[in-house]
Amino acid sequence: MSNTYTIPVGPLHVALEEPMYFQVDVKGEVVQSIEMFAGHAHRGMESLALERNFFQNIVLTERVCSLCSNNHPLTYCMALENIAKIQVPERGQYLRVIADEVKRIASHMFNVGIGLHVIGFNTLFMHAMEVRETMQDLKESIWGNRMDISANTIGGAKYDLDDELEAYLRKTLEELKKPVEEFRHMYATHPQVKARTQGVGILPPEAAVEYGLGGPVARGSGIDNDVRKETPYAAYDKLNFNVVLGEGCDVRSRALVRLGEIFESISLIEQCLDQMPKGPICCDPLPDIPAGQAVARSEAPRGELIYYMRTNGTMYPERLKWRVPTYVNWEGLRVMLDKAKVADIALIVNSIDPCLSCTER
């Protein structure tokens, strides 16, 4: 079986949440080369954004991707606030951090869980998803939807926490710690999981820098690139947290970085609840949006998200462009999939936490 043949992966493939088409040349079970064909989820959102007014774009950008759906409107609003010099009330800033971190926990849990599903470990996958369900309930109770929480609006946050919800949030976070710790322990020590994830999909730090990769993918290779530290936004400048770094440069290291970040997120939310002042959550009424341009950056669950906006004084943006974290990470796959086994393709692709709807918009 030394002949090379091509296997198409996708576009509608059960291991890929989304339609992406890979053409993988394999020799035996070893990948020789990989070609990616994108565009299946291209919905022309950048042109749609120009036809929608600033309010509609809050919701439109949220639909870029439902897994990092909080960061898109957040960064969009930040860009707009930079142009119009809108000062977000302090409570609103803390609420934004809370929404952001809750989404991050759910997103990381989902990614690591799906990774386990890909290697056929359904019990542990379901365990992870059950833990994630508490986050889903939390989102539904506070913001009203399990995925698109729609927590942000221009000038602040939309949904406030009352005492009851605050207590509920604290209780849920407290209860979350133990199962996540158990889960992390199991992920790190289960021999079969270790056999499948250790040394698989190696991404050397140099390659991560060369391709400009971001988020937990680069952090799994020891590169510190957290936007929340680099250019703090919302209330991150007032909060303490560590950037979780990994050394393994492999699938396992990336997953452990994500699981480690969950604990940082829990601590961040708790700090927010402790420090959060009372007061308004949203700036009201809104000023006119002048002409101008601005860039805003934030740390989505998958890495650095950047929005570029240009306005012309009307209610519609003149140009709205965003770069999602996965966009650059796809190219990193070339390094990770080089000489990989066919059995590992899905696992490695999953380890970059791919988000096609983000990439193609």
Binding site: N122, T123, A346
Partner: protein
């Protein structure tokens, strides 16, 4: 004439045929239910595999244009028939002691890989790249798990042969154990039993060794292109195989009977099959994930084979 009739009875009604089919589907139902419970789910009804078969038999069959139609249709039938014959050879201790043929253990050794071969045929006939990879994996896997099986069977045969050589008749193996105690409780045979336990998930295509059908990687591999009644045929084949493998395990290691006549012993046999499946398939597949092909190969060479050889050595020494 009477011989003919009894053979057809064994082939079509008991222990092969109808009985094996019902038992196999029931075992699969239990497997799914218990696995669900281990994952904190309610799970499907026990009879779910029956519903699946009924449903599939009423669906349309789609044969891909690029497939080799004759082989595509032949593969599931071939696998099914092979397992029907194999099921006939399984003794149900205390009820029926197995076909009286002398070498039925060797025959089983040849019949057991038939489902794998049917999968390979299916995979190559469906002309999909996933099928091709599934085929090559099935082949590697087969080599890997056949080695321990061969050694285990040899060990049992030598042990059952007593002082004067080896015995390849399952009926004799069962009889020997009835006289001298089950091998499952024999210290020198325990490594072989463990090796056999490792062999079961491999041959049943269960996690961690479900490589040819690995869903998230290969979309069920060779089965990808199958639909309707032909897929049902594959499901029935795998149900039959469940009975054959579990029945073989019972015959080789725990053929003990209980007092209370044929019906009680039938229930006892079903219970033993169920326990064997629980230990080797259900719990294993809920406690692990899938291994890669190379890891599987290494695993089989490293543990079950060595264990089987240990038993073989002990058996020869103690003889």
């Amino acid at each position: 004439m009477l011989d003919m009739l009894s053979h057809s009875f064994h082939l079509l009604i008991f222990p092969g045929g109808l009985f094996a089919l019902l038992l196999g589907l029931l075992l699969k139902g239990f497997d799914r239910k218990i696995c669900a419970r281990l994952q904190r789910r309610v799970g499907p009804p026990i009879l779910q595999p029956f519903y699946d078969i009924i449903k599939l038999s009423q669906k349309e069959t789609i044969i891909p244009d690029t497939a080799n139609k004759a082989i595509f249709k032949f593969a599931p039938v071939f696998g099914f028939m092979g397992m029907m014959v194999a099921a006939m050879l399984i003794p149900v201790p205390g009820v029926w002691n197995g076909a009286t043929g002398l070498g039925d253990m060797l025959m089983l050794l040849y019949l057991l890989p038939i489902p794998a071969i049917a999968f390979m045929l299916a995979g190559s006939a469906s002309s999909s790249p996933y099928g091709a990879i599934g085929t090559s994996r099935e082949m590697v896997l087969m080599f890997a798990y056949e080695i321990p099986l061969l050694v285990v069977l040899l060990t049992v045969a030598i042990k059952a042969g007593g002082a004067d050589g080896s015995e390849f008749s399952l009926a004799q193996v069962v009889a020997y154990q009835h006289a001298n105690g089950s091998f499952g409780f024999n210290l020198s045979m325990i490594p072989a039993f463990i090796a056999f336990l490792c062999f079961i998930p491999g041959t049943m295509g269960a996690v961690p060794f479900d490589l040819p059908e690995a869903e998230p990687e290969l979309l069920e591999g060779p089965l990808l292109e199958y639909s309707g009644p032909l897929l049902a045929m594959f499901n029935l084949m795998s149900a039959l195989k469940m009975v054959v493998v579990m029945g073989l395990g019972v015959a080789l290691f725990f053929p003990g009977t209980i007092p209370g006549g044929a019906l009680a012993n039938l229930a006892w046999f079903i219970f033993k099959c169920f326990m064997l499946m629980l230990v080797s398939v259900t719990i294993v597949r809920s406690a692990t994930g899938r291994l890669r092909t190379d890891q599987t190969f290494k695993f089989y060479l490293k543990y079950p084979s060595v264990l089987a050889y240990v038993s073989l050595g002990l058996t020869l020494l103690l003889k």
